[in-house]
């Protein structure tokens, strides 16, 4: 599992190619690697954006206005839950309890936690990421 976690950290998801490679290196059937990967919700096996947004959908967060937060994000990034932006920068997902029920609603962007969200706050956070992405992009060139 640490191998797969490493791959996910680097590439954000486990491609068919990497799963077959892992299986070959460990000398085990590729189906077993696939079985393990698909079991865990943090091991993605579909192509994901650079920033993965996971919104807690469990009870306290939904009571405290998770849906408005999701609408705000969907509106801003022009994607629905489960989709990735065409430029491959953001993916929006829902996940089960993050353990921030006392500071609901909460979300993870990659490994960063944001809590006590409101539609306004989430717009601010996302614009921060959008700006960072622009700066990061210029460095790459």
């Amino acid at each position: 599992m640490p191998i797969m976690q490493g791959v996910v950290e680097q590439e954000k998801y486990l491609s068919e190619y990497s799963m077959i490679e892992i299986a070959r290196e460990l000398d085990m059937p590729a189906s077993e690697v696939y079985g393990t990967a698909t079991f865990y919700s943090f091991l993605e096996y579909k192509k994901m954006g650079k920033y993965i947004i996971r919104i807690c959908k469990t009870i306290t967060c939904s009571m405290k206005g998770k849906n408005q937060v999701i609408l705000a994000i969907e509106d801003m990034l022009k994607i629905n839950v489960g989709e990735t932006t065409p430029d491959g920068n953001f993916s929006l997902l829902q996940t089960n309890c993050l353990g921030f029920c006392h500071k609901a609603p909460a979300m993870l962007i990659n490994n960063e936690v944001y809590h006590d969200l409101t539609p306004e706050k989430v717009r601010e956070i996302l614009s921060m990421y959008l700006n960072r992405k622009k700066e990061g992009g210029s460095h790459d060139n």
Partner: protein
């Protein structure tokens, strides 16, 4: 009706971490037998929710003849509404590490692991720093014990102890058959003590102040204090350390917003208690107390009268359906059917009597599911459907 127990606050967990070096060296100079007796007489029970006596667990593993043995700290805190373990690991990590090392001394293990849930990845750098400082001290006093962090990857079921072992061994996190129990056949098939973060933190309290101090808190069958994660419709959400055995009515007086309709005790796998039964419900482990006594992993979710219980149940079932590992049929199919069933009743496609059928299905799951997840779906399902039947139908 008056209640016998007032809400009693305690303050052990988040206090006095700095003497860990002293506690560690003092504890490992005592004999394992003495430490086990101390734990048994404190009547500390596992704080993850199941409530197995901790002293007995250590004793059984200490008696197992096999090598090597392991100590595992279960920090896969996935139950909706709990967040105490994260707080312990970020505020008093040395207590947990010390307790793990003492446990290693008692059972004869040289390796410890912390299974940290994937959602708490951000804790890892800080925790690694603390661990290296801790191991440095262990080397100084020539005590051989190492601790590693193992990251989970977002699966609720991995908090079940045998599923956690499977996951650590790099497989799908599916629970094993029990017996054999972890005390003889745990991680890598070796004797293993696996304790919740909070349980370990409590053993630290016991080794510091002695069993008597701990035993004096709480009520019969439910000794000591416990952290409660309070969330939902409450003016003061957060983590509170309270003595066990208080009545739910007192709890609601303290934390409710004046309009509390029901409290979910123990997270999605726990029970929902409606207002009319607050008085007769006590919080603690099962025992022969008067009224009902509910065990809990510490999750307390309050709902006020603006909340629809249908939405709550819908949310729980959605959660279980996703987190069911799919290994055994009652749980895999049962969760889906319960969810589809209540939706059909709500839409009017099925009549109200269909709910009784669903209740029977939930009961079947309770008896036939392999692990705690499938068995406990019935807890929340039955307690919500029975108490708020009208809300399910209309």
């Amino acid at each position: 009706m008056t209640t016998n127990y007032q809400l009693k606050r305690a303050d052990f967990i988040f206090k006095n971490e700095n003497d860990w070096e002293e506690v560690l060296s003092k504890s490992i100079s005592r004999s394992p037998q003495e430490l086990i007796n101390e734990l048994i007489s404190s009547e500390l029970k596992g704080r993850g929710g199941a409530g197995f006596p901790t002293g007995l667990k250590w004793k059984l593993t200490a008696e197992a003849v096999d090598d090597p043995k392991y100590v595992i700290c279960n920090a896969d805190e996935g139950e909706p509404g709990t967040f105490k373990d994260r707080e312990i690991l970020s505020m008093v990590p040395f207590k947990v590490l010390t307790a793990m090392a003492v446990c290693g001394h008692v059972i004869g293990a040289k390796e410890g692991y912390i299974y940290l849930r994937g959602e708490y990845f951000f804790l890892r750098p800080e925790l690694n720093k603390v661990i290296s400082e801790f191991e440095y001290y262990c080397r100084e006093i020539q005590f051989d014990f190492t601790i590693r962090i193992f990251m989970g990857s977002g699966a609720y079921i991995c908090g079940e102890e045998t599923a956690l072992f499977e996951s650590m061994e790099g497989k799908r996190g599916e629970p094993r058959n029990k017996p054999p129990f972890p005390s003889s056949f745990g991680y890598m098939g070796k004797p293993t003590v696996i304790n919740n973060v909070e349980t370990l933190a409590h053993t630290y309290t016991i080794f510091t102040y002695g069993a008597k101090r701990f035993y004096d808190l709480g009520v019969q069958y439910s000794r000591g204090s416990k952290l409660f994660s309070v969330s939902g419709d409450t003016p003061k959400p957060g983590i509170y350390e309270l003595e066990l055995g208080m009545s739910l009515a007192d709890f609601v007086d303290e934390f409710g917003d004046g309009d509390t309709k029901a409290v979910q005790v123990g997270g999605a796998s726990g029970f929902l208690v409606p207002r009319k039964r607050f008085n007769e419900t006590a919080i603690g482990f099962q025992g022969k107390l008067t009224g009902i006594s509910l065990p809990t992993g510490g999750s307390m979710m309050l709902f006020n009268s603006s909340r629809s219980m249908f939405n709550v149940l819908d949310n729980y079932l959605e959660f279980f359906r996703e987190e069911s590992c799919g290994q055994c049929t009652p749980c895999r199919v049962g969760c889906q059917q319960l969810l589809m069933g209540i939706k059909a009743v709500k839409r009017g496609e099925k009549n109200a009597q269909y709910l009784d059928k669903l209740l029977r299905l939930a009961e079947t799951m309770q008896y036939t599911a392999k692990c705690g997840l499938g068995q406990s779906v019935a807890n929340s399902f039955s307690s919500i459907v029975e108490n708020f039947r009208e809300e399910m139908i209309y």
